[in-house]
């Protein structure tokens, strides 16, 4: 039994694709079987289209990569009109990842999505322009505001995606739960930096970027486990998942579902392979994802 129910969503298996690593979903049609996925989380959407950052936007690091895409996207309206129809008829859940620079931005994006998708994932790792650029996701009060606002703007299930760049993830978990989030996904990328020694310049045009990939897995598993100690809503584990075993670490630590991110770049069929591997494990061990969730014996 690999199907899970999460915040009212029925997923055929616990494996989703992570936002920003799977485009708008349809790009993967030639490469993998989308129907074998629990859900697809699409690229972060903003109110207006965004051009993103200048290049270089990515750099490889030991067992990981830094990215500074700058949240380039077509905007919520174009997504609903042009991108979403391409997934029509495909039997999996579609989750929209949204972000903004003000609380109002977030609300408006949520409204415009209407019920075109199955759920909304709020990316709170964005600088709050009104608050002088402090990131929504590192201040529990600001996080509370965003999540409450989005909740009041949609009837869809709301997942809040936490930033790992905090001293105590449990404080953030409590804040967004109080704001009414239906589920929590974690972690987003960790802020990092790479320097081109010969040029004495940052490799990325934006100086710092977000670290993802296997390198961050131990940190992500730790944060999911810490979150699980206090969370009442379901958790979705993210960070460096490449294999089914990686995913199972998160599930055993307390996640009801997982997202596969950077691994999609290593192999566009990664997420499906993770889903198949979990199914095999569950079958062999005569267990279920439900039973495995939070089964860590400490």
């Amino acid at each position: 039994m690999v199907s899970v129910e999460l915040a009212g969503l029925k997923l055929k298996n616990p494996v989703m694709t992570a936002s920003g690593t799977f485009g708008y979903g349809s790009e993967f049609l030639p490469y993998t079987d989308l129907e074998k996925l629990g859900a697809i989380v699409v690229k972060g959407l903003s109110l207006n289209p965004r051009q993103g950052n200048p290049g270089p936007r990515i750099v490889e690091t030991p067992c990981g990569m830094l990215n500074a895409i700058g949240l380039q996207n077509v905007g919520v309206d174009a997504f609903v009109k042009e991108k979403l129809p391409k997934l029509k008829g495909i039997k999996t859940q579609i989750i929209a990842n949204i972000f903004g620079e003000t609380v109002e931005d977030y609300m408006e994006v949520a409204k415009r999505l209407g019920d075109s998708v199955s759920a909304i994932e709020i990316n709170i790792s964005c600088p709050n322009v009104k608050k002088g650029g402090i990131v929504f996701g590192t201040d529990p009060n600001e996080a509370f505001k965003v999540v409450s606002a989005v909740k009041s703007s949609t009837t869809l299930p709301v997942i809040t995606k936490l930033s790992p760049n905090v001293t105590d993830i449990k404080v953030m978990v409590k804040a967004v739960e109080e704001a009414g989030t239906d589920a929590i996904s974690l972690i987003n990328t960790i802020t990092g930096m790479a320097i081109d020694v010969d040029k004495r310049r940052p490799v990325l045009a934006t100086i710092t970027g977000g670290l993802s990939g296997p390198a961050i897995k131990p940190i992500a598993v730790r944060m999911v486990w810490q979150a699980a100690q206090v969370a009442k809503v379901p958790l979705i584990g993210i960070g460096g998942i490449v294999t089914a075993k990686d995913a199972l670490e998160f599930i055993i630590a307390g996640a009801k579902a997982v997202q596969v991110g950077t691994a999609n770049f290593m192999d566009p069929d990664s997420a499906v392979k993770v889903a198949e591997g979990i199914e095999e494990y569950v079958r062999k061990n005569k267990t279920s994802v439900k039973e495995l969730t939070g089964s860590l014996r400490v």
Binding site: G23, Q72, F265
Partner: protein, 266 residues
């Protein structure tokens, strides 16, 4: 078009640090300019695939596309990934994903194709020359040994001219000097295909545009996915609408009309 494990037929050092890599692969339709994303090892480090152009399609002649039993890559060892690749031997396998990207558009029937390459930029242009069987290949090499790469090109049915920085073979100086001579106001209607270092591409584009000649450039950027989803390989274009300004080298390119590119930002 999934990622496939492909057997290495040969992996030979043809010049110091330059390797020909033959891969067994029942290829889908390939056109010149297509590239592959190659996973150089099963380890998590290096993590990402590496992009390489298609140099030859094995067991295939041009027939509206190439479709063969394998491909040959030509690569230079520049860093960790290519180092690891160079240590692979025949019989081992590597994972490949492709063919990816958009190839070079055809010249018009009466147009004279000028193919200009610097260094490894020769890779997609060799396949283009094999397809077109006419025109001229201008190759900028660091020295006579690198220049040797184009020795076999004459059999492809095109003219070949070489420039080396040290003048050890062919013309002394930059390959763009040769381009200037090929595109003169009284030469026939031309179209330029260029691949190589940014400086060379910029200059080739400038020369072509100054003469009102169309120039197709194949660009390189660091890539993570190769299929247009990570948005990592962005290149700035002159698109009027701001949010359409960044195009992806992997999926919108790697071949672009030189006029489209914002050369200042490159």
């Amino acid at each position: 078009m999934q990622s496939v494990s492909s057997k290495i037929l040969y992996n030979e050092e043809v010049l110091p640090r330059y390797f020909r890599l033959g891969l067994q692969w029942k290829t889908p339709a390939i056109v010149p300019g297509h590239f592959l994303m190659v996973r150089v090892s099963g380890s998590l480090d290096p993590l990402l695939r590496r992009p390489f152009g298609v140099y030859k399609v094995l067991g295939s002649k041009w027939k509206s596309v190439f479709r063969g039993t394998g491909v040959e890559l030509l690569y230079q060892v520049v860093g960790r990934g290519t180092k690891i690749l160079s240590e692979k031997r025949a019989g081992e396998s590597v994972d490949i994903l492709g063919p990816l990207g958009n190839g070079f558009p055809d010249p018009e029937r009466k147009q004279n194709p000028i193919m200009i390459a610097g260094g490894m930029g020769i890779v997609p242009l060799r396949l283009l020359a094999e397809k077109l069987k006419r025109g001229v290949v201008l190759f900028g090499a660091r020295g006579s040994s690198e220049a040797g790469i184009v020795k076999g090109f004459r059999g492809l049915g095109c003219r070949v001219k070489v420039a080396t920085e040290d003048g050890s073979i062919g013309r002394r100086g930059l390959v763009t000097g040769l381009l200037k001579e090929e595109i003169t106001p009284d030469s026939p209607d031309s179209v330029v295909y260029a691949c190589g270092p940014v400086g060379m591409l910029k200059e080739a584009a400038r020369i072509a545009q100054a003469e009102g000649v169309k120039c197709h450039v194949s660009l390189e950027r660091s890539m993570a996915c190769g299929i247009g989803v990570c948005l990592g390989c962005a290149v700035k274009t002159r698109a009027r609408e701001e949010f359409k300004r960044y195009k992806m080298v992997c999926s919108d390119g790697p071949v672009f009309d030189s006029k489209e590119i914002d050369w200042e930002a490159l």
